[in-house]
Structures are given as C-alpha cells and as structure tokens.
C-alpha cells in the first residue's frame, strides 16, 4: 500500500497538533501535563518513524520522564481550587492569536516550496548497520566533544541553581 506512510504521518500530525492545543487550553494544569505526556509519546513515535531511535528514547526518558515529572511536582504545589476559578487567558489574547497565526502562515508559505539541499553521507542503511546510538556517539565524542562538555557544564549549573533558588531560606525569616 503506497499510501501508508502518508496516512501514518497524517495521523501523527493531526494528533500532535490536537494534543498541543489541548495542552495550552485546559483549565486544569494537571490535565495539561497529562496531555503533554501523551504528546511526548507521539513525538517519540514520530522520531522512530524517522528512524532516530536513540533520540526517541531520549525524548521519552528525559522529556516525558524527567522534565514533565518536574512540572507535575510544581503544579501540585499550586492551590488548584483557586486556579480553576481564575480565568485562563491574559486580556490581550486576540493580539497573540493574530501574531502566532501570522508567524505560522509566514512559515507555512515558505516551507511549501522547500527544496532539499545536498544529501549528507550518513545514509539510512549505514545507520541501521552500525545502529543509530553508536553512530551518534561516534560523532558526538569526536567532532562535537567540546559542545558536549559545555552541555554537561550547563546541566551542572542548572542543578546548583535549582537548589539555591528553591531552598527554603532558613535565616531570612
């Protein structure tokens, strides 16, 4: 069936768009977190579809697992009752609609006539043969070693920052 890939992409696209809309429009933050979880799973599946297995795994583990859980903790800190009554949107939301719609239309009108540039050397077969994680690791630790180190540094700072910021001030009262 020649139409299958298009069909699958169509499904994924529609679901992702729907889920993202749901994420930002739910009144209850916990619901939006749940929807976002679902969204991440779909995105991970799409990566698989684009045969980036390692990235899909990372997506699920880091994004869905770590970051979203973090969000959940913070959401649970809120007093949900008060949150439900308050109105969700800022006063000037029509402007925002206009702006984001404008940006989307602008991008869409450009991307329709997008021409693929020169093909790189990592063909799909090569990756499958060597497995995606190995090739990724190969590039990462040779060509992009320095940015890798910086990334680790960023994470370190993030950790310390989070602790300092969120720590309860003992002396301040």
């Amino acid at each position: 069936m020649t139409m299958l890939p298009q069909l699958i992409f169509g499904y994924f696209a529609a679901v992702i768009v729907l889920l993202s809309l749901l994420v930002i429009t739910r009144k209850n933050p916990v619901h939006s977190v749940m929807w976002m979880l679902l969204l991440f799973f779909h995105i991970a599946a799409m990566y698989l579809f684009l045969n980036a297995e390692f990235i899909a795994a990372i997506q699920v583990i880091v994004y869905a697992g770590a970051i979203l859980v973090l969000f959940l903790f913070v959401v649970l800190l809120l007093n949900l009752k008060e949150e439900l009554e308050a109105d969700r949107f800022v006063g000037s939301w029509p402007v925002a609609v206009l702006v984001s719609g404008g940006i989307f239309l602008g991008l869409a009108s450009v991307l329709r006539s997008f021409v693929i540039g020169r093909q790189g050397s990592f063909t799909v077969e090569l990756i499958q043969k060597v497995t995606h994680t190995k090739t990724l690791g190969l590039i990462m630790y040779t060509e992009y070693l320095f940015p890798f180190e910086i990334a680790s540094l960023i994470l370190l700072i993030a950790v310390i920052g989070a602790i300092v910021l969120a720590k309860k001030r003992m002396r301040s009262h």
Binding site: V95, A96, L107, S109, V110
Partner: protein, 647 residues
C-alpha cells in the same frame, strides 16, 4: 586773537574746579571761580570782536579728534563775524547771569553744583559757536542739551523738575536724530564735515539730486531740512516745542541764560552758519519761514491766557524764535541774527525780572496772586517795563529795530510766501505787545491780591540781582542802535547807518529785497501801530476795566480752555508716542515677542521631548506577555520583510 583758546577753556576749567573741589573746599565761594572765568572769557571775546572788526578771521584745528579711513575730523575753531557776535552775546549774558545767580541761589544746598553746571554750559555753548566743523558743532549741541538736562532737573528731588529735564533731553534727541543724519549726508556728498570746504563746494552741488531712502530728492533741500530738524529740536519750534515751557521748572537764571539768550538760539545760529546750503534750496527756505511764522503765532496765542509769569515769557521766547526763523526763511539771515542779538538782552532781562519778582514773592508765580508791586520793587518794575517796551517793538528800543528789519525783509522778499509771513509777523507783533503788557499791568499795577504774609515779605531784590538787571536794561535798549535801518539813516543823513548788516555781510551775505521807500515806511508804521495798539488794548482791559477779561473769558470759554491747555499738544504726544511705545514694550515685545515666541521655543523643545519620553515610558507595562508579544511581532515583521524582499 591769538589766545582765543582761553574763551572756551576757562569756563571748562571753572567747571572742573567746582565739580571736583566744590563739595569740600569751595561750598559758598564756588561762584567766584565761575564768575572770574566767564569775565576773563568775556574780555577776550570783546578783544576778539575788535580783531574781527579790524578784518582778521581765523580757522585753526587744535588736534585730530576722530580718524577712520577717509573720515577725518578734528577739534577746530573758526572765528569770523558771526562767531564774534555770538561770542559777545553768550559771554555777556552768561557773565551777568552768573552775577545775578549769586543773589538768587544764595543759601541753596547744591550751590557749587549750580555754578559748575553754568560754567559747563558756557563752555559747551562757546565750543558750539566757535566750531569749524559739523561734528564739533554736534558736540557743543549735545553738550548744551546735557547742561540743560542738569539745570532744568536741578531741584532733582522734585518729580516735575526731573521729568522736565528728561523731557527736554529726549525731545532734543529727536532733533539731533535728524541733525545726525544730515551730517551723514553731508559727509557722503562732500567727503568732509569741515565748514569751509562744504560751503565753498555747496554751489557746485546745487542742481544735484540724491536717492534718499528710495526717493530722488534735491540734494541741498535734503541736507537743509535735515539740519533744520536739529534747529527745530534745539530752538523749540513747532513740532518739538513742548519741552521749553516745562523747562521753567529749572531755577530762573537757568531759564534766562539757557532758555532765552543762548541755547535756544543755537538753532538760528545753525541756520545762519549754513546759509550757503539753505539759500541754494527754495523749498527749504519756505519751510523755515513757514515753521517760524506758525510757531510764533501758535506760541503767542498760548501766551495770551497763561497765568504763570515764567510760562508767559517762555512762550514769548518760542514766539520770538519763530520770528528769527521767519527772518532766515525769507533770506534775511543778518536780520535773524540781529534779532537774536537784541532778543538775548531783553528776554534775559524779562526772565531775571520775573526771577526777582519770584524771589520777592517767595516763589509765587501766579499772576492773579500778585498786583501793585510797583511801589515795592521800583528797579525791577522799571527794567521790566523797558524790556517789555523793547519786545513790543516801540521805536527807540532794540526790539523795534530788529523786528522792523525782519518785517520789512519779509514784506519785500522775493520768496512767494513773504507777504503771508509778513502778515502773520505783524499779527504776532500785536499779540506780543498785548501779553507783555498784560503781564506788566497784572504784576505791577492794581492792588495786591496775594496773602497778607506775602505782602509783608515784599522787598526789592539785593544789589547782586538789581545791578545785572540795570546792565541788561542798557543792553536791551542800546543793543538795537548798531542796526538802525538805512531808511532812517537817509532821513538823518548818515549814509550806512546800519552798521550791523555791513559787518555781517561777508558771512551772511545781503538779502536782495525789492520795494520802494514808501512801502518800507508803510511797513514800519504798521508795525509801530501793531505794538502801540497791543499795549493800549492791554491797558484798557487790565487797568481801565479789570472785570472785562473775565467776561471775555466766559464768552470764549472753549477757545480759552484750548489755549490755556497749550492746544493739548502735550497730551497728544503722550497719546501718540509715549503711551504706544510703552504699550508695545510691555505686551507686544515682552508679551508676544520674548515670552510667547522665543521663550516658547526655548522652553518648548525640552518640554516636548520630556512629554514624548513620558509616553514611551508607558510602554513598559511590567507584564511578561506584552514584552513577549512585541518580540513575536518583531519576529513576524522581520520574517515578512525577508519574505517580501525577494518576491
């Protein structure tokens, strides 16, 4: 002749001594310095006159005053017949009035200051008279203006006195404005401001015309009229006469010296000195004659109804000055100067008599508060009577000869306006006689109308005041005898009896008038008739039927009010010039100009910038979304721009 420099610089030295050392050292003795200086300069003037009579004249520069490019002028002295006569007039009157002031100003706090100003005035008047170029004439011109400012405003603690002084100076400045521009035109045409080259080349420029302020006018007329502007200012002629009556605020010797004998005659002296220019322009002469005639009629009419003794004499001065200009206008410069010469004596005398009356009446000036002073002040009475006879033009007295000469020249002159001017002259002669004797009868005859305390205080003035009166009285009578007209000369058999005209002939030329002897006799008779009838009418109204004047006044009350308020000229000037000037200054210039236009810009620009920044500040709302939205919009705009650019 050789030490002529003493004449002006002695009074100047006296001025310096008095002003510098007056307060501490001289105090009461200040008058000796001034009188001595003036007396010596009088003696030197007489010697100069004798030298000039023997034919010697002098034109010498002392030092270069201003040198700039081709404009060169120096302090220089020209002594010829005209200067000699003026020297005599100025120094004689000045000396006598100095002596008179000793008595009059006795006990005054600023005694030394008064005499220093008198000396300064004499110095400036002499510099004016002896100048050999227009700029030094201008120096003397403004110098005497300055002294009249000081002397009119002598009692400076009185507002009216300081107002009068200021008014005199500013009105003179109007005249000097025209005079200054006249000097510019002279320099631009002749390339020099010295008399001698200007008058000799004047004939050459007779036909030329000049583009003056855009109009092509006859050159000589422009120059003549501009110079005449100065004369009008200084000699208080028609438009600029308002300052002289107010100048009576000053002490009486000042009025005698400055506002009768010397300063006001500077205008006539200027016209006489520049006769070479004036006679080249028919229009200018006519204007001079007309202004003189109208002013004399105008002033004489006001003089009829005034009650202040000094104001009457002031208006009579303006009227007599009008006479002199009338003479110059019809070409009779010699007659004009002769009248100036005689007028100086009897007018100074009139003022000094008025001063001694005031002195006796403790400052009272109103005629209706006096009367019957004859028996208290015989000397003053006699001298004032003789002076009034002289001014009324009664034969034998100085006034008659000079006035008759003018009227005859007016009648017989080739100038078209001559006859009309002669008519006005005769009418003025009648009015002059009338108001002079009204003054005599109201002050000296009839019964005393003042307060009892004043009557008790009445006494004849001290010697230092009466002696100058007598000397001036001789001058008032005898001064006319040097200029008796040739007509009477033929009658009496002496060929050239009119010595004065002969003497002045080289400088002022000779007026060519045509008219038979019969007409000359006729004119003389008419002028005598006018004088006598004036006196008769005054006698009739104020001695015979004293109640008549009030009835007439009631009948012509409006006319009387107009005349009494001096045709409302002062109020007119105030309305037309002073008030609008102040108004424009206050609201137009400051209100609109400075404040609304310039300051608005100067303060407006920073204010508007401030306002704009305030608006900008409102953009910072503090809301996260607003900033994000703006960023997103920026993104969108750039995106759109990049997109549209390559389409």
């Amino acid at each position: 002749m050789q030490h002529y420099l003493l004449i002006p610089f002695l009074p100047f030295a006296a001025f310096l001594i008095n002003i510098l050392f007056g307060r501490m050292l001289l105090k009461e003795k200040a008058h000796w310095v001034s009188i001595l200086a003036v007396a010596v300069s009088w003696v030197v003037s007489v010697m100069t006159l004798l030298d000039v009579i023997s034919g010697k004249t002098l034109n010498q520069d002392v030092y270069t005053w201003i040198l700039s490019g081709n404009f060169r002028v120096s302090v220089g002295f020209l002594i010829d017949q005209l200067t000699a006569v003026m020297l005599i007039v100025v120094t004689t009157c000045s000396m006598l009035i100095h002596i008179y002031s000793v008595g009059y100003m006795h006990g005054d706090s600023g005694y030394y200051r008064f005499f220093s100003y008198l000396s300064l005035f004499t110095f400036c008047m002499l510099m004016l008279v002896m100048a050999n170029n227009f700029l030094q004439l201008y120096f003397g011109w403004e110098g005497v203006g300055l002294c009249s400012y000081f002397l009119i405003g002598y009692y400076f603690d009185k507002k009216s006195a300081s107002d009068a002084g200021k008014k005199a100076f500013i009105v003179n400045r109007f005249g000097d404005f025209g005079f200054g521009i006249g000097i510019f035109v002279i320099f631009l045409t002749f390339g020099t401001v010295y008399y001698e080259p200007v008058f000799s080349q004047a004939a050459g420029f007779a036909t030329k015309s000049i583009n003056f302020l855009g109009y092509d006018l006859h050159l000589m007329t422009v120059i003549a009229l501009l110079l005449f502007c100065g004369s009008i200012g200084k000699s208080a002629q028609m438009p600029l006469h308002v300052w002289l009556p107010d100048a009576m605020e000053g002490p009486t010797p000042v009025s005698a010296l400055i506002h009768a004998a010397t300063m006001v005659t500077a205008g006539v002296f200027l016209v006489a000195r520049c006769n070479a220019i004036f006679s080249l322009s028919e229009l200018a002469l006519t204007i001079v004659a007309l202004t003189g005639a109208i002013t004399s009629l105008f002033a004489a009419s006001i003089g009829l109804v005034q009650n202040d003794i000094k104001r009457i004499i002031a208006y009579s001065t303006i009227s007599q000055l009008g006479y002199m200009f009338l003479a110059c206008g019809v070409g009779g410069y010699t007659a004009g100067v002769f009248h100036l010469y005689t007028h100086a004596f009897f007018k100074a005398l009139l003022f000094l008599c008025a001063g001694s009356v005031m002195h006796a009446m403790a400052g009272e000036l109103n005629l209706h508060k006096m009367g019957g002073l004859k028996k208290y002040m015989p000397v003053t009475y006699i001298t004032m009577l003789l002076a009034s006879l002289s001014i009324a033009g009664i034969p034998g007295f100085a006034g008659f000869f000079s006035k008759d000469e003018i009227l005859w020249l007016a009648y017989s002159s080739t100038n078209p306006v001559g006859k009309f001017v002669w008519l006005i002259g005769t009418l003025v002669a009648f009015l002059t006689a009338f108001y002079s004797f009204r003054l005599i009868f109201l002050t000296f005859h009839g019964s005393f109308r003042g307060t009892h305390e004043q009557e008790h205080h009445l006494h004849e003035s001290p010697k230092t005041m009466t002696v100058p009166l007598m000397l001036l009285c001789i001058g008032a009578i005898a001064s006319g005898w040097i200029g008796i007209s040739n007509l009477i000369g033929e009658l009496v058999g002496i060929e050239h009896l009119n010595w004065f005209t002969g003497f002045m002939q080289p400088v002022l030329g000779h007026p060519e008038g045509h008219g038979t002897h019969a007409e000359e006799w006729g004119v003389m008779l008419i002028s005598i008739m006018a004088g006598v009838s004036g006196i008769g009418l005054a006698y009739y109204l104020y001695i015979k039927r004293p109640e008549l004047p009030d009835k007439i006044m009631a009948q012509f009350s409006t006319a009387h009010r107009v005349l009494f308020n001096k045709y409302y000229v002062d109020e007119l000037y105030d309305l037309l010039i002073i008030r609008p000037a102040l108004w424009t200054a206050k609201n137009v210039l400051i209100g609109v100009g400075d404040v609304r236009i310039i300051e608005a810009i100067v303060n407006g620009v920073p204010a508007s910038i401030g306002g704009f920044s305030k608006q900008l500040r409102r953009l910072q709302t503090g809301l996260l979304q607003h900033y994000a939205t703006i960023m997103a919009m920026g993104l969108f705009v750039i995106g759109a721009f990049m997109l549209l650019r390559n389409w």
